[in-house]
């Protein structure tokens, strides 16, 4: 009555086993533990703080604040992006490790918002400097709207292809990958030969080379 018995019968897998691809499992894990950057710009950041606080409890999405861009999965552009700040935001985005996502929160970072016409120092949309995954409308968006945006981001991550399918690739890509494999094999063989040649075997007997 163990686990193996159950595996023998493919129609009775029980509650504790689910069948799926590696990609599904990885995406499921990635989407349920996104770490975000503690980074606020303007009014929307106050609403974002409210999302973090007791009533809305953002952590139930598995989101943990990280102060360093190196450890974060996604960044929330919460407020007006000015031209002085735009270069810093671009730098922060570049510092994040792949895969990385961007949520644009509020009208200002979507399109310039109320400052679209006369704001000489306002960037009219953060998507002019970094790619955006989810846009949340509102000025500022309600916490519920923000949480809907978070669900959208999770579903996007859930449906993402991590491994590119070989049959979907272009022929030159496949050729390049094959070429790279051959190169790697060659390099490994060279290194192995070098290692064995320089191996210090004094005082050791009967070591399989």
């Amino acid at each position: 009555m163990g686990l193996l018995d159950r595996l023998d019968n493919p129609y009775d897998v029980g509650d504790n086993i689910f069948l799926g691809t590696v990609e599904d499992v990885l995406n499921w894990g990635r989407s349920k533990s996104d770490w975000y950057m503690t980074f606020g710009l303007a009014c929307c950041a106050i609403e974002f703080m409210a999302v973090n606080a007791a009533h809305f409890d953002f952590m139930r999405f598995g989101c943990i604040p990280r102060p360093s861009p190196r450890q974060t999965d996604f960044i929330i552009i919460s407020g007006t992006v000015t031209l002085k700040m735009a270069e810093r935001i671009k730098r922060l985005y570049e510092q994040m490790a792949e895969p990385k996502y961007v949520i644009s929160m509020g009208s200002c970072s979507n399109s310039g918002g109320p400052y679209w016409e006369n704001g000489y120092h306002v960037l009219k949309g953060v998507d002019r400097i970094i790619p955006v995954d989810v846009y949340i409308p509102g000025c500022p968006p309600r916490p519920e709207a923000f949480m809907d945006g978070m669900v959208q981001l999770q579903s996007k991550i859930n449906h993402q292809a991590i491994f590119r399918k070989r049959k979907e690739m272009r022929p030159e890509d496949i050729a390049a990958i094959d070429q790279r494999q051959i190169e790697l094999k060659k390099l490994r063989a060279e290194y192995e030969a070098y290692r064995i040649e320089h191996l210090d075997l004094t005082g050791v007997d009967n070591v399989a080379k």
Binding site: L83, K84, A86, W116, E117, Y120, H121, L123, R128
Partner: protein, 158 residues
Amino acid sequence: MLPNEIFDKLKIEFGEEIISLNEDPGYEPSIKVEPTNLVDIMLFLRDEEGLEFDYPSCLSGVDLGANLGVVYNLYSMKRAHKITIKVEVPKEAPDVPSCELVWRSFDWHEREAYDLLGINFVGHHNLTRILLPDDWEGHPLRKDYVQPDYFHGMKVPY
């Protein structure tokens, strides 16, 4: 102390440098002065018995068309009275003496007026841009200001 009393007191001390008192209905009472000896006038307003404007409320730069104006809103905590001092300078040579050592509060206010309107506060220890980036061109609050098309490769208009 009423505005006309303050005006009389200043007139006795400084004479010609105090130009006029504006008490039109709808306008807050304001005294227009010459910019040449502004720091002494401000020190007098701050230290003279009976005036004692110890609290600097606000400093605003204004674009008046041909001229640029600086408006000082002062308040006295001891005497609970307030006054507005105005200075006008031509746009070609907008030089106003800096009052940052009279009230330290005006340090940042003057930098802001320089940044947004291009008023040159003579004697300020660090007259640099405060809100806009250092390499920004032009002074946005002037009426004839035109938005730049690009800044550091980023498109500015919508």
